[in-house]
């Protein structure tokens, strides 16, 4: 095979000269056409990821660098670079990025994995949450829980999500850029953005009633509201049987996670809260305080209000007064508010109340004696002899021998049943009649 040496020579020389000319031209141009640039722009441009992705809202990394120097963009505005880049930019700009920088992280709002929930059906379809949702709303016991097929994992551009052994997505804080892609993808709205510095969040999305949640999941929020009551800053509210956290108010104290009778809370920086231990601790505390749990007193009128309100079905209506199962009770105090007769009290208060009640009873008896001095019930001239009162009287104290009828004061028990039945309001208290 012939090798055209001339051609190779020409190629090398020709292209070399051409390249040389352009290089020289550009070099001269760069000197001649040099524009004074704030050196910080170049410094910032260097620490930026350089992907020109436009996620910051600027046309590219260069524009972003200029915008930062011009003061038109926050040092933390690069979502891809995250805190690391923000810190470097902050150094260049002489700004402490620490305060300004609170990036959001996508959090999974479900803690009910394979262990905590069960499969209510067998799903063998496409391995996709969206497909499973279409097919009879998925196979998970909880209609609000994470299906765990990993649609979010597939859609994540930053490899920030993976499904753990328990079938729940885990977000890698370092990789997450809060780009919202997974949030848009999830058919059950399992993910939401939480500020990175907020360590406590509520990993449950279920707006079902407490009893239903208890049936389908061992950790889900039952909406009892203990957390909302105990939260020192009022950051938690209950909406639709679900605790909602206001992250602006949250101070990371973790009280909510401690008092919660269930375990939907995720407290970062610690292992998953050992809820049994905390509960035992709380019981000890309660015993120290001598509170002894909630009890229902004799005031109970069996209205069932408390049973409806109880998030954990701890109240039984088998006997009267109703009885609170101390093992089930989470001491949320919801029933106290609902009770029309204030029959539900703390055990130690109940003892005091028994004493009080006895005193009151004695007082009432005295009152009754006073009332007897009012002369009892009498029938006035209004009587039309309809016999209604006679039928109604439990002790047959009313005689129809004369008109108006007469009430035998020795027999009458002052039940007042006859007053209600009288069509002409002829039955009154003797002292009222005189008046």
């Amino acid at each position: 095979m012939d090798i055209d040496v001339e051609l190779i020579k020409n190629s090398i020389i020709g292209m070399g000269i051409l390249g040389g000319i352009f290089a020289t031209g550009l070099t001269i141009a760069s000197v001649k056409l040099a524009v004074e640039i704030d050196p910080r722009v170049e410094d910032i441009d260097e620490v930026l990821p350089g992907a020109n992705c436009g996620a910051c809202g600027q046309a590219g990394c260069g524009s972003f660098a200029e915008a930062v120097v011009a003061g038109n963009a926050e040092v933390t505005a690069c979502p891809v670079g995250g805190s690391e880049v923000a810190e470097k930019i902050g150094e260049i700009m002489g700004i402490d990025s620490g305060e300004a920088l609170i990036p959001d992280i996508a959090r999974v709002m479900c803690k009910g994995g394979k262990i905590e929930t069960y499969r209510r059906s067998s799903y063998d379809g496409i391995e996709s949450c969206k497909a499973a949702t279409v097919a009879a709303d998925g196979d998970k016991s909880c209609a609000y829980g994470c299906l765990g097929f990993g649609d979010c994992v597939n859609v994540c551009n930053f490899d920030a999500i993976e499904i753990n052994e328990n079938g729940l997505p885990v977000v890698n804080d370092e990789n997450c850029t809060a780009c919202n892609t997974c949030i848009d993808e999830c058919p059950r709205d399992m993910l939401s953005l939480v500020p990175e510095n907020k360590l406590v969040y509520i990993r449950c999305n279920s707006t079902q009633k407490g009893k239903t949640v208890k049936d389908v999941c061992t950790v889900g929020c039952i909406g009892c509201g203990v957390c909302a009551k105990k939260c020192p800053t009022g950051a938690i509210s209950i909406e639709n049987n679900l605790a909602i956290m206001d992250y602006e108010e949250c101070v990371n104290c973790g009280v909510c996670a401690e008092v919660c009778p269930r375990d939907p809370f995720k407290v970062l920086g610690t292992e998953d809260v050992d809820i049994e231990a905390l509960r035992a601790e709380r019981k000890d505390d309660a015993e120290d305080e001598g509170a002894g749990g909630l009890v229902i007193t004799e005031e109970c009128v069996a209205c069932d209000n408390c049973i409806e309100e109880c998030p954990v079905d701890a109240i039984s209506d088998e006997e009267e007064p109703y009885v609170i199962d101390q093992d089930e009770c989470v001491e949320c105090e919801n029933c106290i508010e609902e009770c029309p007769t204030e029959a539900i009290v703390w055990a130690d208060e109940a003892e005091e109340e028994v004493a009080e009640a006895e005193e009151e009873a004695a007082a009432v008896e005295e009152d009754d004696e006073d009332e007897e001095a009012t002369g009892g019930l009498v029938i006035t001239e209004e009587c039309v002899a309809c016999d209604n009162c006679i039928e109604e009287c439990p002790v047959e104290a009313i005689s129809d021998e004369e008109e108006p009828y007469v009430i035998d004061q020795d027999e009458c028990v002052e039940c007042e049943n006859c007053i209600e039945e009288c069509p002409t309001e002829a039955i009154v208290w003797a002292d009222e009649k005189e008046a």
Partner: protein
């Protein structure tokens, strides 16, 4: 007349985007708003015209005498990238506002295949210098026309009730296809 034909042929009948399908990337990427689309079109027109001139000189005075036509692609890429760099520096020196308006699009032109396509078409068709300039300018004008039309349609589509599966890229593809179909009508006006 000949020059007019070349101009309209490049701009409309054989529009680089809608008939030759070159430079689709900026066509789809930078056609969300009319003003930026127009800036992009202007930048491309400028670079197309100037690289047409330089490509013609390099082809006629370097590659052909040395018998190096096979190095066309490589040398034209060299020309275009150097020229984009030069343009960027010049624009920045001359007019900072224009530089800002063009932003990232200016360096993006480096990788625009419409410009390389133009440079390769010039020697293939044996255009002289004047014809090359007109051809380059016409191609740039056609690019601007197409991208501005596209941006206008996409701006209007923002208020349209597009079915969810068609939102975003699918709808953009559909209107790009319709636009290309419409431009096929110009094929009869100017001979290929």
């Amino acid at each position: 007349m000949e020059l007019l034909l070349i101009f309209f042929g490049a701009a409309v009948a054989n529009n680089f985007i809608l008939a030759r399908f070159l430079g689709i990337c900026p066509f789809l990427g930078v056609s969300k708003e009319v003003p930026t689309a127009f800036s992009m079109g202007m930048a491309v027109t400028f670079v197309m015209t100037t690289s047409a001139i330089v490509a013609w000189f390099v082809q006629g005075f370097v590659l052909e005498p040395l018998g190096l036509e096979f190095l066309q692609t490589m040398s034209f890429i060299l020309i275009i990238s150097s020229f984009v760099q030069l343009t960027e520096m010049a624009v920045r020196k001359i007019s900072e506002p224009l530089y800002k308006a063009l932003g990232i699009f200016l360096p993006l032109i480096t990788t625009n295949c419409a410009i390389l396509g133009l440079a390769l078409l010039i020697p293939e068709r044996g255009y002289n210098l004047i014809e090359s300039v007109i051809f380059g300018f016409g191609a740039g004008a056609g690019f601007t026309l197409a991208i501005v039309l596209m941006a206008g349609m996409r701006e209007n589509l923002k208020f349209a009730d597009v079915p969810q599966p068609f939102q975003g890229a699918p709808m953009t593809m559909i209107i790009a296809g319709l636009l290309a179909l419409a431009f096929m009508g110009f094929g009869g006006i100017v001979a290929m």
